[in-house]
């Protein structure tokens, strides 16, 4: 497919000449770079609660964001109307607020090589609504059937199809069709004599609708949510203070997202406000740790063919055998730092200025047998799943909240413990990794990352790892 067959060209009768004229308008007051980001987003969401499908909604939003960069200064404007005069008006506003002396040579727009990491023929949101609704009904039934102690179930199915087109004054012209879908299930369990407990599970990706019928079914997520809620019924108080922590594979990879990922975003580093600033080439983790951010894994929630600035995503090594190797770049930071773009310039929507963001962040597998890792711990906790996390990138302190964990006593998992927050310091925490399992898993596709008010879908992953020392925020 070429430009003339692309979504925006055909639906809004746009030509290359139009795009070039908007870019010229954006640079009419000076500036050394401009880009246009066109977005057409359709979404739908269906929820079940008390076995009643109480809500179903669908809708569309569309618009264009115009950005002008002059040195380190950014001007931004957007329009939710794609008529030529409104786009030109937005370009003019962006131009005026970034006005500067520099002038750029006009570069003709050229389409880059195209690839498709998510060749989805029929996007989930192009599937009959009754079929999508059936998924939440199945999830509800499966969670209730799991155990008689499950007394409340909520399930939500949500999908979106985003068409984007980026045109830049550097001559980049790219477009993409980005499907995304997920199921999430929350279950509450109770038994006589204890407080109710909640379990939560979900997943999806840039997948065909059939993924939820054949690969990861509603029953899969429902049983997992119900199982977690039931396990928590017998949970004891979590320990308080420093202890040995073993993280299970998959979703606990959120540790990497908080402990190192955000701190390696190039905007914080060029401003030198990150705990990782000026540390490239230094040891920041145990030699067992190699951490990757990879936006090219097919069908993954965090993957993109091109980032939201038109650059192809790629596999970036952040930490290699414990040594800090690189940052996550966007257009602005890579220009200022004279670094190559890494395909990490992302934004929530056309209303937002892009920033360096993660895609799918994970640690490579090591050599230890996961069973062996648990057996090696006389006293500690094992965390199987997490709710969420947060980081203060300047001090490097980060937290993540365990949603399913167990005491380890004499090398065995014994009792489940109540939810607790774990806290550590980014450049320190991974130095205490003493074993890395051979069981790398990526999460099931439910992650949302928030930064400066912008949310984007991401993935995480990790093998079983042992951290000799970390602070657990329990009460025991």
């Amino acid at each position: 497919m070429g430009f003339s067959d692309s979504f925006f060209a055909s639906r809004f009768a746009m030509t290359r000449g139009d795009l070039e004229s908007y870019l010229a308008e954006a640079l009419s007051q000076g500036g050394d770079y401009a880009d246009l980001y066109f977005e057409y987003l359709s979404t739908s969401q269906i929820s079940i609660d008390e076995s009643i499908v109480k809500s179903a909604t669908q809708g569309v939003s569309l618009g264009v964001g115009v950005r002008v960069i002059a040195g380190e200064r950014t001007g931004y404007a957007y329009s939710d109307d794609l008529s030529p005069e409104k786009i030109r008006q937005a370009a003019h506003v962006a131009a005026c607020i970034a006005a500067g002396p520099a002038k750029v040579e006009k570069t003709p727009l050229e389409e880059g090589r195209r690839r498709n990491l998510y060749p989805v023929l029929t996007a989930p949101n192009e599937t009959a609504f009754l079929k999508r609704m059936d998924l939440v009904k199945r999830a509800d039934a499966a969670a209730r059937a799991y155990d008689a102690r499950i007394f409340q179930v909520q399930a939500t199915y949500a999908d979106s199809l985003r068409h984007v087109m980026v045109a830049t004054s550097a001559g980049v012209l790219s477009f993409d069709r980005q499907p995304l879908a997920r199921i999430s299930v929350a279950a509450l369990a109770k038994q006589i004599g204890t407080a109710p407990q909640r379990g939560y599970s979900g997943g999806g990706g840039r997948v065909e609708f059939a993924y939820f019928l054949e690969d990861k079914t509603p029953e899969h997520f429902a049983r997992e949510a119900a199982r977690q809620a039931i396990v928590q019924l017998d949970a004891v108080e979590a320990p308080a203070g420093e202890t040995t922590v073993v993280l299970g594979p998959g979703w606990p990879g959120i540790l990497l997202h908080e402990a190192v990922g955000h701190g390696l975003e190039a905007d914080f580093n060029r401003k030198k406000v990150s705990a990782f600033s000026d540390r490239i080439g230094q040891q920041v983790a145990s030699p067992l740790c190699t951490v990757i951010d990879d936006g090219t894994i097919s069908h993954r929630r965090g993957s993109l063919n091109v980032d939201d600035e038109g650059n192809p995503t790629q596999r970036n090594v952040l930490i290699e055998n414990g040594i800090l190797r690189g940052y996550l770049q966007d257009q602005l930071s890579s220009r200022i730092l004279s670094a190559a773009p890494t395909g990490n310039g992302r934004r929530e929507s056309y209303e937002h200025i892009p920033m360096p963001r993660m895609t799918n962040t994970f640690m490579l597998a090591g050599e230890s047998d996961p069973e062996e890792i648990i057996r090696s711990v006389p006293k500690g906790i094992y965390c199987a799943s997490f709710g969420g996390g947060q980081v203060d990138i300047t001090s490097g302190n980060f937290v993540f909240s365990a949603s399913e964990s167990y005491l380890i006593e004499d090398g065995r998992l014994t009792r489940p413990v109540r939810n607790a927050t774990l806290i550590g310091n980014g450049p320190e925490a991974l130095r205490y990794v003493s074993m890395v399992g051979n069981d790398l898993q990526l999460d099931e596709g439910i992650g949302i990352c928030g930064k400066e008010g912008q949310s984007v879908p991401v993935g995480v992953g990790i093998p079983t790892i042992k951290i000799d020392r970390m602070t657990v925020g329990g009460t025991a």
Binding site: Q58, V60, I97, R198, K271, N397, A420
Partner: protein, 450 residues
């Protein structure tokens, strides 16, 4: 589009929905203009200026609900939105409690809530940039250890919201908002810390002076330098207003009608019971002029009001919309909230903890060994169980004085006990957003550290 046009469009959308088979319909239209200026290291870093609008529709066909939204307000866009909502309502489940508020419950507060102030709209761009620059400069100039910054910023937003339903409600209001912030970074040896201060108001006149914003941010960041981890121990914990507010967020979730009817709250079923210390009274009031949580009607067209949630430790009311009220056999408290589309959820108005008598200094002076919490991170609070475990930073209290900065620790407990253990409440109540709380002291929590 002019004001009247948007109101007409909302009414017309409701009518179209009824014409296409809906038995009830409600339409929300919102319009907003945003501006933001960021200055970093005394230079302009970014400027953003734009406006957008959107419409949302919820319809009922009998007891089945469907909804849709669009950013395309053309005749064609509205037509498609109506068709989408009706299509969905044909296939969802019958929900016996679904419906609009009763006609006699609808209405709007007649007095002027001062949600819109024209002085925000009149500010010129260079002036707004100067405010951000002044705020940042005041922080940078305050202390030689402040050598870096994430910047100063000025943000404003002007909005208009219109709501119409098929039971004859039509209401609209405008709102304005502006804020000024500074985020300095300080360094001393290996220790690097960041903190912020932000002032926000519905009118420009209500903002704190720019230099003051920078100076407060500077004081806050400098006092964090050289923070250390403490031993794990159980001690009294003092929350300053900025962190005390977050406890109100947890109380809100715990009295939220949906958590109540699902029994997913540690406060479910406890109306009339003592759930907190006698020092504690929590009010939700959507009718206070000029504040951020105020509005003349909620997102179902019901007038907002003042609701006593907890009175001297006794749970008096949940916060409800029409749906959750019907589920519980109660009346709505005028707390319906939604974006553009979907069933109405629940939001709070101005939710605050009534002030006590002591000054913050008196409260700190009464603690011989304890933790003064100035920052909380993470989301480790469950209103299902009341379990509470969050990352914290602040200052250690020794013999009634702020002694040394602390970070990389957790504070943990259970909200049931924490609310019962609120021993002292300060007199320093200030509205810096739609939740507000004065300094407060909790008798004992577990601090997790070394």
């Amino acid at each position: 589009m002019s004001q009247n046009h948007l109101a007409e469009l909302a009414a017309e959308t409701v009518k179209q929905a009824l014409d296409r088979g809906a038995s009830e319909a409600e339409c929300t239209i919102s319009e907003g203009n945003e501006f933001s200026a960021n200055v970093r290291m005394r230079e302009v870093e970014s400027l953003k200026q734009a406006g957008s609008r959107g419409a949302g529709l919820r319809v009922l066909i009998g007891k089945r609900a469907g909804s849709a939204y669009t950013s395309d307000l053309s005749a064609d866009g509205i037509h498609r939105m109506v068709a989408s909502a009706v299509e969905l309502a044909a296939i969802t489940s019958d929900d016996p409690h679904a419906g609009l508020p009763d006609a006699e419950e609808l209405g709007t507060i007649p007095s002027d809530l001062q949600l819109y102030c024209a002085d925000v709209e009149r500010l010129e761009t260079p002036f707004k940039i100067d405010l951000a620059r002044t705020a940042e400069a005041a922080a940078l100039d305050a202390d030689p250890r402040i050598t870096n910054s994430e910047g100063g910023s000025f943000d404003s937003r002007l909005g208009r919201r219109i709501f119409a339903n098929s039971r004859g409600f039509m209401g609209e209001y405008r709102s304005s908002y502006c804020s000024l912030a500074a985020v300095p970074v300080a360094r001393q040896g290996e220790s690097m810390e960041r903190d912020y201060w932000v002032s926000m108001a519905r009118s420009f006149a209500g903002l704190e002076p720019a230099a003051h914003v920078g100076q407060v941010a500077a004081e806050r960041v400098v006092r964090r330098l050289g923070a250390r981890k403490v031993e794990t121990q159980r001690v009294p914990v003092v929350f300053e207003p900025r962190t005390a507010r977050s406890l109100l967020g947890s109380i809100f979730e715990a009295v939220h009608g949906e958590s109540i009817y699902r029994q997913a709250s540690f406060l479910a079923g406890k109306l009339g019971e003592k759930v907190a210390a006698e020092t504690l009274t929590v009010i939700d009031d959507g009718t206070i002029a000029g504040l951020f949580g105020s509005s003349p009607f909620d997102d179902e067209g019901v007038p907002t009001r003042r609701t006593t949630v907890i009175e001297r430790g006794v749970l008096k009311s949940y916060l409800l919309n029409t749906y959750t009220a019907r589920k519980l056999g109660m009346k709505t408290t005028g707390n319906a909230s939604r974006g553009l589309s979907g069933n109405a959820g629940i939001g709070h108005g101005n939710l605050f903890l009534e002030r006590g008598e002591r000054t913050p200094a008196e409260i700190i002076a009464g603690v011989s060994n304890g933790f003064y919490v100035t920052e909380l991170i993470g989301s480790g609070v469950s209103v299902v169980t009341g379990d509470y475990s969050r990352g914290a930073a602040g200052i250690w209290i020794r013999n009634g004085e702020l002694a040394f900065p602390v970070s990389e620790v957790t504070i943990a407990g259970n909200l049931n006990n924490m609310l019962m253990d609120v021993e002292v409440i300060g007199q320093d109540l200030e509205f810096r957003g739609s939740t507000a709380a004065p300094t407060l002291l909790i008798r004992e929590m577990t601090v997790g550290g070394r």
